[in-house]
């Protein structure tokens, strides 16, 4: 610690009185500039509201063209399954050319094509081909659509075989259970992930901009030449923003539970500890950004670059980290949101899984400590 002065009765050279003054000053600044309160409380609510509804990977009512070359009972029997399913919204088309054109124009996502000999092959040799064409541009959705079509096909096979008194006899059948999210609602894992992304933005935005502003206006230098110590200045900034951020976090959790009906299976205790650690790390990162940047312009640019996109792409929020190349997996360890996404997804869906929780917390503590060490080093340099 720099310039340790023997002020009696204060903890580690920090004067509670000066600290209180700073926190008060910082709090007034927050209250008088409504934008900070807006960022902390209104922003998470609005963003979570829109995104929570908007972001979903569950495809429903996939527009599919049904092309039947020779209308007969067998063909209509097959496609009737599609009309009843909530996964499809089938459109009957007259010929394959029309359907292919619609696929090209993105009006439909796929085609089911029963050729003229479907009915005949079905009853004679068997193994009648059912043509399925999907638009593969969105590969993930195309896979999901193929999965749905396969499901419809198996259902039809069972029905068809039963009607003929020969129960379907396939060699291996898959019976599956999806733990933690039996209904496979993608919202259940996307909403906790969104909270992590939104909180990353808010933590960095709150602090990065505000401190860069002080540097730019020169008020930081004024603070520095006062008897106030660097750690007091930092604490004075961290405390009010931490309180604000945690408030926003509490609102987001309440929304996840009450509006989006995401189950909360873990404890509030773990949720609070995890959130607090993350919030501190995010604020430290904001401090570091503003300190490095010096001007609001650059601070803003850095904040956009290092917070939002990495939190979106590299946190495991939508894209599975385990499937990324090894080098990229290492890189994700530098993204604080990664740990918070994992903490939140676990606490919400699986419960308190302590080994995972502790290892994530440990990483957050390590990151936060690294940030604060760099911040203090830099702050000292600027002071001299």
């Amino acid at each position: 610690m720099t310039g340790e002065q023997p002020y009696g009765g204060h903890m580690r050279g920090i004067s509670m009185m000066r600290l209180r003054g700073l926190v008060k000053k910082e709090s007034y600044q927050i209250i008088r500039d409504p934008s900070s309160i807006g960022i902390a409380f209104v922003l998470p609510v609005v963003l979570l509201f829109i995104f929570g509804y908007g972001v979903s990977l569950d495809a429903q009512h996939v527009p599919m063209a049904m092309v039947i070359d020779k209308p007969d009972k067998a063909a209509f029997d097959f496609i009737s399954g599609f009309g009843q399913s909530e996964y499809f919204s089938p459109v009957i088309m007259n010929n394959i050319q029309e359907a292919e054109k619609a696929l090209m124009q993105r009006r439909i996502d796929g085609i089911v094509w029963l050729r003229g000999d479907f009915g005949r092959l079905l009853l004679s040799t068997g193994n009648a081909p059912i043509g399925v064409i999907v638009n593969g541009v969105d590969a993930n959705q195309a896979r999901i659509t193929i999965g749905y079509v396969t499901g419809a096909w198996i259902k039809w096979l069972e029905r068809f075989s039963m009607e003929r008194g020969r129960p379907l006899n396939i060699p291996v059948n898959v019976d599956y259970r999806i733990w933690f999210n039996a209904a496979v609602r993608s919202r259940n894992f996307l909403v906790p992930g969104l909270i992590a992304v939104i909180m990353t933005l808010i933590g960095a935005m709150l602090t990065a901009m505000v401190i860069a502003r002080e540097w730019e206006r020169g008020t930081m230098e004024a603070l520095m030449v006062s008897p106030v110590k660097i750690q007091e200045i930092l604490l004075g900034k961290i405390i009010p923003y931490f309180v604000l951020g945690m408030g926003g976090m509490a609102l987001s959790v309440a929304m996840a539970i009450f509006i989006f009906h995401v189950p909360l299976r873990g404890s509030f205790f773990a949720l609070t500890i995890g959130s607090a650690l993350f919030m501190l790390t995010a604020i430290f990162m904001g401090l570091l950004i503003s300190q490095t940047a010096g001007s609001q312009f650059v601070a803003g640019q850095i904040a956009i670059v290092v917070t939002f996109l990495p939190a979106f792409m590299l946190s495991g929020f939508v894209f599975d980290i385990g499937s990324m190349p090894m080098v990229i997996q290492w890189l994700t360890h530098l993204v604080a949101a990664r740990y918070f996404v994992s903490i939140l997804q676990n606490i919400f869906l699986a419960g308190d899984i302590w080994p995972i929780f502790f290892s994530n917390c440990l990483w957050l503590v390590a990151m936060g400590t690294a940030f604060i060490v760099i911040i203090r080093k830099k702050a000292r340099k600027r002071l001299e």
């Binding site: 079905l122 593969g136 969105d138 733990w179 901009m209 312009f297 499937s323």
Partner: protein, 369 residues
Amino acid sequence: MLRRIYALMVKEFLAILKDKKSRMVLVLPPVAQILVFGYAASFDLYNVPYAVYNEDTGEASRVFLARFDGSRTFKFYGAIDDDAQIASLINLGKVLMVIHLGPTFSRDLSREKTGTIQVILDGRNSNTALIGLNYIQSIVADFNEDWAATHGRTIPPARLVVRSWFNEMLDSHWFIIPGIVALLTLVVTIEVTSLSVAKEREAGTFDQLLVTPMTPVEILVGKSLPGFIIGTLEATFIILVIVTWFHIPLRGSIPALYFGLFTFLLSAIGIGLMISAFSVTQQQGLMGAFLFLVPSVILSGFATPIANMPRLVQDLTYLNPLRYFLIVVRSIFLQGASFDLLWSQYWPMALIGVVTLAAAGMLFRGRMY
């Protein structure tokens, strides 16, 4: 007039490029991001760890499980011999799934009955679980077909012949990576434009600009051009990386791509300048940029399809230029599209651009009188 615009443009460029840090922020991140995100952003699964709980000692179970060994998608984590271990492996995230074969699996198969396997998946990320399940289903379907053929079992009366257009292997990189062009171009353009007026307001130089002989239209053009040039250069660079490094096929018309880029930049710059003209301080400008960027990325169809959104949110996405440009980029890259398929995407972007630029110009003028 042209000379005045040129002078302003040069000044804008200097303002952006003269600061070393600001220059770095503009050049380095897009380069790093296209590489990192290009590898990271994918829905495909590789090396998914799985455990096997095989209670069956028969030959058939080994033949069946061997199918998973050869796949790039799965990575064998270990065998377990006890029900209780399933929970600990899945809870701790050691494996994504456990494949359980009951004691009668081989017997059922050899007696022409159906052998059932049980798959337990970690649904914390339910999309990953579903994709994993789909992979398993297709391995099982292949196995069933081969088994039925070699063991003389009755084959099903109809089979699916699936083809996927534009992306035969269903590689989701092909979907995400062209989208990154749109994403990064938007971020860079908004960064460059959204603070350009606010910065001058704060410094007081915008008032000086207003008392020069320059008209608001000239100011508008002068302030837009750097965004256009930087946006076009960065987009070109990213497109080159995508084609040469990631080997994503660029099948469609390049003029149509650049026409799309032009309308997209028009709309992005219009929105950036409007944000900038609205804000009095840089902080507000940045906030505006953030507030626009984050929803426009998340609600663009970049990662999660617009078709899955509720009606109201879908309607909201019509205001989002990224929505249209993503379609343009993907159609041209993968579908081989040209102008005729894309007019419905061009005009909304152009409209957003014209409206927002006009609004920005008016806001400049509003300050003048």
